[in-house]
């Protein structure tokens, strides 16, 4: 006797607790086994590129905030860097230092949400809250600095919108010493938890050549075992002055490039960010943060592509200027958008529960995927 079986199509999202926003996944499943995953995007397509064409160069900055809303500083910076390159602006030392510090703080804050939501998807809800609690410290530092908790509009073309708060250095130092101790708590509670390792090790293994061919970047690429970091490999700003390591996936709990490796790379990256902040915080030179801001931004005709290492990977801005005050075309190479593409490849042959774990370990932000 043979039983007739059918594959089932399961729509995950756009409203689903673990799709990190409004992603829709079309899973073809046989029982619990996933045969195929088709992501459907666009539920948060906010027309960034159209807005960029309609705005003046400096008016675009607030819109860049809303791309990767968990790492708004990085988005500001990438855009500012692209326009600065197009216009040939050299920004003052003080600005560079402040940018590095806020970007690294932002990287920590962003990884905290990424790790937390990854843990929450797997069922450990408490680390999620602990990470959010620590994130509030960073948000309060940013709030002192520029008055916003999430979307800062802080890094402008040629400078910053405000100088730092007088308490900034003190608060950052406090946070660094506090958080260095707290990361250990995270390791004890989650990273080496047996169930967590069981759920993530050997799941969603991303081989290196696939990762490169799919254009993966950031922790998703480094989890596969290559120390490729734009801060080191295509240095921008003053990152060449700092001493830091690039954590890579070593397959400590399973194969190289599994979910646990991607998770662990993020944890170690937070430590390295703390190191960079420690090195930079005492050397902020005096100066005016707005001295290099041009009165009128009108870059020459031409194209520019710059990329920076955002928490989620390589954030690229491709700007075409036709010599006007508005950009002719701005295209964002969003790291989440490219990293998400590999999801279908990773999920094949795993169970439904693993799809959640893999998606969490890739760490997407829908604002950036859909733009």
């Amino acid at each position: 006797m043979s039983l007739k079986t059918e594959t089932m199509v399961l729509n995950m999202g756009p409203q689903h607790p673990s799709t990190h926003g409004v992603l829709r996944l079309e899973l073809k499943i046989d029982g619990e086994l996933v045969l195929d995953v088709k992501p459907h995007l666009g539920y948060l397509h906010r027309c960034f590129e159209k807005h960029a064409e309609a705005m003046q160069y400096n008016q675009v900055v607030p819109y860049t905030d809303r791309l990767d809303y968990l790492a708004a500083m990085g988005n500001n910076w990438g855009y500012a860097l692209a326009v600065e390159k197009l216009m040939g602006i050299q920004v003052p030392e003080r600005v560079e230092y402040i940018r590095v510090i806020v970007a690294e703080l932002q990287r920590i804050a962003s990884h905290q949400v990424a790790l937390g939501s990854n843990a929450a998807d797997i069922g450990a809800f408490t680390p999620f809250l602990y990470l959010f609690r620590d994130r509030e410290h960073i948000l309060s530092i940013f709030e002192d600095t520029c008055g916003a908790r999430m979307l800062y509009n802080y890094i402008w073309v040629g400078g910053l919108s405000h100088d730092i708060h007088p308490d900034f250095v003190k608060k950052v130092k406090e946070f660094v010493s506090y958080y260095k101790a707290t990361i250990i708590e995270l390791d004890n509670l989650l990273s080496y938890n047996k169930i967590f390792i069981e759920r993530t090790a050997n799941i969603g293994v991303l081989p290196l050549d696939t990762a490169i061919n799919f254009g993966a970047s950031g922790p998703a690429l480094r989890g596969s075992g290559i120390p490729f970091d734009l801060r080191r490999d295509d240095p921008y700003s003053i990152y060449d002055r700092f001493d830091f390591e690039i954590p890579v996936g070593k397959g400590l709990q399973g194969q190289v490039g599994d979910c646990w490796d991607r998770y662990y790379v993020r944890v170690r990256e937070m430590e390295q960010s703390l190191r960079i902040i420690e090195q930079a915080i005492d050397h902020i030179p005096e100066g005016d943060v707005q001295s290099a801001i041009p009165k009128r931004i009108k870059p020459p005709k031409g194209t520019v592509y710059t990329r920076i290492e955002n928490p989620r990977g390589e954030l690229g801005y491709f700007i075409i200027s036709d010599g006007n005050t508005n950009p002719f075309r701005v295209k964002v190479r969003a790291p989440s958008f490219v990293n998400l593409e590999v999801l279908g490849e990773l999920c094949k042959g795993h169970l439904v529960a693993d799809v959640i774990a893999i998606l969490g370990s890739i760490d997407i932000v829908l604002g950036e995927v859909d733009r």
Binding site: G123, F125, L129, N193, E198, V352, A353
Partner: protein
């Protein structure tokens, strides 16, 4: 208890009704306090405050939840299997409710003193599986169906180690009656089964390690049977939205919730009866030393409830600490580890009890 009320009123119907209301009230109270405690405890674990606006310390939070749920619209989706859909919550609740009939809260306070108490409880609590399957199937929702299938596989599998441990205890004690099992572990904690039982001798000390293993096995498998983290796979929020009760709202959903918390207490009660002396106090009775006999049942009820709540608190503590297992890991834990260990445990306890 039935006998007591029958003596008081002399009416079969009244005494049956009163006896039946007692477990119902108990389930309600357990659920009300349980939900509140769950929220408070999760809040404390997570560095939060928890409900504190509704009544003093948020004590009326669950009352408000309950009243709100009563006035919710009974929205039923189209294309459901109506009969099964409506029957499922009732069945799940019945399973939980009926189990309370045989649980001895004290030497006097027991709904029905059935001789096959533990067997009865194991049997009626399996209603839950049928109810959950019905709920998942009739909802016509893929998440619910997946959740129901997972749940059926999980509960059926984990009944085996539970039953094996229960069997070894029954073999040791020589009775199926929960009252007698409790009675045999007389007051004072060194007489409890976890410490080898009341009979002194070599076997008492030989038994201790196997009792601890048995306790761990039954605690893990009852955790799985009531769908608590790390085994809350049927209702895994982040995977299956809400599992088998995805399409239920208002009071029907509340029945599932009542049954969940009711079951939590029921399994904690069973664990404490089998291993921790049931309703017996760990250090003797105040009533005995003062010579007030009527005080003893109250003390017993207190200790029983306290033990039950202690295990519920442990369940909550685990829930807010651990991640969730995957469905295949859950099954392999059961079939590859718990059942073999339980069988070995059964054999060893059998040999020791022959000594």
């Amino acid at each position: 208890m039935y006998q007591f009320i029958y003596d008081l009123t002399g009416n079969v119907i009244i005494s049956t009704l009163v006896t039946a209301v007692f477990p119902l009230v108990n389930v309600l109270i357990v659920a009300l306090i349980g939900v509140y405690l769950e929220r408070k405890i999760s809040a404390w674990i997570q560095d939060r405050v928890g409900p504190n606006r509704v009544g003093p310390f948020g004590l009326f939070q669950t009352v408000a939840d309950f009243i709100k749920m009563m006035q919710k619209e009974d929205a039923t989706p189209t294309d459901i299997d109506g009969k099964l859909y409506n029957l499922a919550p009732v069945l799940v609740f019945t399973g939980c409710f009926a189990a309370y009939a045989a649980i001895p809260f004290s030497s006097q306070l027991i709904g029905s003193e059935v001789e096959v108490g533990i067997f009865f409880i194991l049997a009626v609590s399996s209603f839950t599986v049928a109810g959950i399957l019905m709920a998942g199937w009739s909802s016509n929702n893929k998440y619910a169906l997946l959740g129901a299938m997972r749940s059926a596989a999980q509960i059926v599998s984990y009944e085996i180690p539970t039953a094996l441990v229960v069997l070894s205890m029954v073999m040791l004690m020589g009775t199926l009656s929960l009252t007698k099992i409790s009675e045999m572990q007389t007051a004072y904690f060194w007489n409890w089964n976890i410490l080898g039982g009341a009979t002194l001798g070599l076997s008492k000390f030989l038994l201790i390690p196997f009792m601890i293993v048995g306790f761990i096995i039954i605690f893990i498998s009852t955790l799985a049977e009531v769908n608590r983290t790390p085994f809350d796979i049927p209702e895994a929020e982040s995977e299956l939205v809400a599992g088998y009760f995805t399409e239920y709202c208002g009071m029907k959903w509340a029945m599932f919730m009542l049954a969940e918390y009711g079951n939590m207490f029921a399994v904690s009660a069973i664990v404490s009866i089998l291993f921790f002396g049931g309703y017996h106090s760990p250090f003797g009775y105040l009533g005995n030393s003062l010579g007030i006999n009527w005080l003893i049942p109250y003390e017993q009820a207190f200790w029983f409830v306290a033990k039950g709540w202690f295990f519920i608190l442990v369940q909550m503590w685990l829930r807010w600490t651990l991640p969730r297992l995957r469905v295949d890991q859950l099954m392999s834990l059961c079939w590859k580890y718990l059942i073999p260990y339980a069988v070995v445990n059964l054999v060893v306890i059998g040999i020791i009890s022959l000594l």
